[in-house]
């Protein structure tokens, strides 16, 4: 069964389900129709794939808005395929053709539904539409889920589009006219664009619909903006733009260039000389390039850039296995936004950023930076200069880096950071064996949440956070903070100041620490949570918080006498509670047990 993307993941499968409920069993897909047209004499295929964003069809300004297009003499029309599976129960064909009647003497254009028969378009239904007027009809799915339409005129088309031009259209009408998924036609003129701006000269709009066509852009000069050039080119599989004269351009805005090119598999930009550019943002450039396997940008000279934002730069590049940006010159960058930069680079295996100069950066947000980099084994950020950073959010920074084995940030200066969000920072770093954050200065932090910060770091044997200063932290929730760190042998947070914490439940805070041999917890506060009791069989050395409710160490049968005495000593006075020691009772003298019973504890 095929899978159809409409607006990301949300509609995936719905179209299939709808199709399954219908009677078509050997439906001709738009691609098959395109192939037939390509094989026939009808036209050179150019594919147009409209799409939805956040449930809304993308506005028609993405359609070519060229002022004047002379239709070649052998023009056969444009062929539109409407895939009603993508708009279940809802579909319209909407058109607007501006015809120059003074040239052609023709006042109409024709809109026809038909089908292909031996390479010929057979008309089933024809509408004749007055020039410069809208055509709008509902698509009747009784004629098939995938319908082929042709639009043609013998007149000179001044402006054409699936929708009215933005200057004259109504928003409601636009939104109803977008179920067309592909356009096939003889549109050679698109290969000879002339303009000065990649974003507005219609390069973007032309390539928006192409799947694998080559774009000649020799006429482009002095391009300053490439923002959103191919944004939303859902069908674009390859893009041959290696020889674009980008060295002659003075690009200043470059963000969102290939956003949501979900079919793009390869992008070789190694020949691009971008050294003369003066861009400040790399935000969203390759965000959503889910099929991108090869991205060659290693040779880019980035020394003249002054990047401030790396927000979502490679987010959702789920197929990208290699990304060589190790030699990028970042000395003049002043990055403030790093969050989600490599978010969901699910196939990326290594990332060498050791030569990046971050001394001029002033990062404030690192949330989700490497979130869901499932395959990332090595990440070298050990040399980063973070002294001038003021990070406030570390939420999920390395969350779900399943394969990451080592993370050395011992040289990071965090003294100017004011982190408030520390949830899920290393959550599900299953393979992380070494994490050196021992020297981090956290005294300026005001952490309010520690949910699952190290949860599921299965391989982590050592974690030295003993010197972290938590006196200004006001943690309200610390559930699952160290949960299921199965390999962790020792943990010392005895000097942590919990006096300002208002967290009470601590659910799973110390859960399933089966390898734990030594645990030192703060002693300056009494808690009513049994989740702070390390009832683990390998635990020998323990000193920690006082608990004022029933709790048990019966499974912690390796506890030393000294540790048990400390437990007795730390017990608060209660009215009547039960401390279950199991066989640990036998290690203690009556006098030692009496320390507990005199404070109201029954020892079982």
């Amino acid at each position: 069964m095929s899978t159809y993307f409409i607006d990301g993941d949300t509609m995936t499968g719905i179209a299939d389900a709808v199709r399954d409920m219908r009677h078509e069993t050997d439906l001709m897909t738009p691609a098959q129709i395109e192939a037939k047209i390509r094989a026939s004499s009808l036209g050179i295929p150019i594919k147009i794939s409209n799409h939805m964003v956040n449930g809304q069809w993308v506005r028609p300004q993405e359609y070519p808005d060229l002022d004047s297009i002379t239709i070649p003499s052998d023009f056969d029309g444009m062929y539109l395929t409407y895939d009603l599976r993508k708009t279940p129960g809802y579909g319209w064909i909407g058109l607007y053709m501006q015809i120059d009647s003074t040239t052609s003497g023709k006042n109409t254009y024709f809109v026809e539904r038909g089908h292909l028969d031996d390479g010929e378009f057979v008309v089933e239904l024809q509408y004749e539409v007055a020039r410069n007027s809208y055509f709008r009809q509902p698509l009747d799915d009784t004629y098939g889920d995938v319908q082929l339409w042709r639009v043609w005129s013998k007149g000179r088309i001044l402006r054409k589009g699936f929708c009215p031009s933005s200057a004259t259209s109504s928003e409601a009408l636009i939104n109803q006219m977008q179920p067309c998924v592909e356009c096939v036609g003889r549109l050679n003129y698109l290969n000879n664009l002339v303009g000065t701006n990649a974003s507005t000269s219609s390069i973007a709009q032309c390539t928006l619909w192409m799947e694998r066509e080559r774009i000649a852009c020799s006429g482009l000069r002095s391009v300053a903006s490439m923002t959103r050039t191919w944004s939303g080119c859902y069908s674009l599989q390859s893009l041959e733009i290696e020889d674009w004269p980008v060295d002659k351009w003075a690009v200043t805005t470059f963000n969102s260039v290939w956003t949501n090119c979900i079919s793009l598999e390869k992008l070789d930009l190694s020949s691009w000389d971008v050294s003369g550019w003066a861009i400040t943002s790399l935000a969203d450039i390759w965000n959503g390039c889910r099929s991108l396997k090869t991205l060659n940008i290693s040779t880019w000279d980035t020394s003249n850039w002054a990047i401030t934002s790396l927000y979502r730069t490679w987010t959702q590049c789920t197929c990208l296995q290699k990304l060589d940006i190790s030699n990028w010159d970042t000395e003049n960058w002043a990055v403030t936004t790093l969050n989600s930069c490599w978010h969901n680079c699910a196939s990326l295996q290594s990332l060498d950023l050791s030569k990046w100069d971050t001394s001029n950066w002033a990062v404030t947000n690192m949330g989700y930076t490497w979130y869901r980099c499932y395959c990332l084994k090595t990440l070298d950020v050990s040399t980063w200069d973070t002294e001038d950073w003021n990070v406030t959010s570390l939420v999920s920074t390395w969350n779900s880096c399943y394969s990451l084995e080592e993370l050395d940030m011992s040289n990071w200066d965090t003294s100017n950071w004011t982190v408030t969000e520390a949830d899920y920072i290393w959550y599900c770093c299953y393979s992380l064996k070494s994490l050196d954050v021992s020297t981090w200065d956290t005294s300026g932090w005001n952490v309010t949440s520690l949910i699952s910060t190290w949860n599921a770091c299965f391989s982590l044997e050592e974690l030295d956070i003993s010197s972290w200063n938590t006196s200004s932290w006001t943690v309200t929730d610390a559930d699952y903070t160290f949960y299921s760190c199965y390999s962790l042998k020792s943990l010392d947070i005895s000097d942590w100041d919990l006096s300002n914490w208002t967290a009470t439940t601590f659910t799973g805070f110390l859960g399933e620490l089966y390898s734990l041999e030594s645990l030192l917890l703060p002693k300056n506060k009494t808690f009513s949570s049994s989740y702070l009791v390390p009832n683990f069989s390998k635990l020998q050395n323990f000193d920690g918080v006082s608990i004022n409710i029933n709790h048990s160490y019966n499974a912690a049968y390796s506890l030393t006498i000294q540790s048990l005495v400390k437990i007795m000593t730390a017990l608060p006075t209660v009215t009547s509670q039960t401390l279950t020691l199991g066989n640990n009772k036998n290690k203690l003298t009556s006098a030692e047990l009496a320390v507990a019973t005199q404070k109201g504890w029954t020892v079982a």
Binding site: S552, G582, A596, T597, T602, V603, A604
Partner: protein, 54 residues
């Protein structure tokens, strides 16, 4: 010299039995100062839930 008399009430079940207060199971119980032997009773070992560690 410091002399201290320690008074702890201990409970021990008969052979084959175990003590419980309904939540905790133990072969020997040292009663807290406010606890009462009435809060504990004997049950046979077979009646201890399997998931309980004693």
């Amino acid at each position: 010299m410091k002399t201290e008399q320690i008074n702890i009430i201990t409970l021990e079940p008969e052979k084959g039995k175990i003590l419980t207060n309904g939540e905790t199971y133990s072969y020997k119980v040292y009663l807290g100062v406010n606890d009462s032997p009435d809060n504990w009773w004997e049950i046979s070992k077979e009646d201890v839930p399997q998931e309980e560690n004693i």
